[in-house]
């Protein structure tokens, strides 16, 4: 069992509007999903265009956190045509992203570098 945590990462200003990256690790349940929501809103309000949520260290993500990420897809798009991407390697978490439908709504990468290079190509 591991507690939920969020760490801020660099914002790449080389890309127009900036690409925000943060890591959300541990177990992201309904006690944690409001914090995930607040964190995403903080990036969008700061003018971040694309956002990468690094779930490499996440071992659990519940339906409410999936809902937060689904909502973020629309918020980023409306704000300035931005995209949400995730980094995920944990087998069971990947399965949840797939069967919940989140994988159909956002791009999921194995590494942060892959996610950042893909977003850098988005005009």
């Amino acid at each position: 069992m591991s507690a939920f945590y969020i760490t801020d990462e660099t914002v790449d200003e080389a890309v127009a509007g900036g690409v925000g990256v943060f890591a959300a690790g541990g177990e992201i349940d309904y006690a944690a999903s409001p914090l995930l929501h607040e964190h995403i809103a903080k990036y969008i309000n700061a003018g971040t265009r694309h956002l990468v949520i690094d779930l490499s260290a996440a071992t659990f993500i519940d339906s409410t956190a999936i809902g937060v990420m689904m909502a973020a897809v629309g918020s980023l798009h409306e704000a300035c045509g931005g995209r949400l991407a995730a980094v995920c390697v944990h087998g069971n978490v990947l399965k949840i992203l797939e069967i919940s439908g989140l994988q159909a709504a956002i791009a999921i990468y194995r590494t942060r570098e892959e996610a950042l290079s893909a977003l850098a190509l988005v005009a």
């Binding site: 177990e27 349940d29 309904y30 006690a31 949840i96």
Partner: protein
Amino acid sequence: MKAQAATDRQTNSPSSALCLPAELSQLAAARTFARQAAAAYGLDGDGCYEFAYAVNEAVTNAIRHGLPDERGFIRVTITAEADRLTCAVRDWGTFTPPTEGPVAASDAAAEHGRGLMLMRILMDEVRVHTSSGGTTVYLSKVRR
């Protein structure tokens, strides 16, 4: 409040019950309880994860939409039978999820629907029993 564990000796099937304060901080305890029961029953790693995942969703719904008993508890009971492991998550509310429409009426309903969908995919059987006395969600995983 702390969760109270008890062993139910009234039935023939081995059963263990956890009375859980209806608080978000207790979700991790519910997952641990479910994961340990699934491992003791002999489900494999993925099976244990899926069982605990579905139990977490049911307990989350009970805390969000249901009502605890007069002491503030909801009840999680896990029963091991020869062919299946079943978790019953019981609360004292009578919430009926409006999940059948093409577009859910609210974010809360949409999230409730998503949780229920995940439970149905991950478990072999999901039954929701609602009466005037409350709601019980039964989650079963069949032994392979």
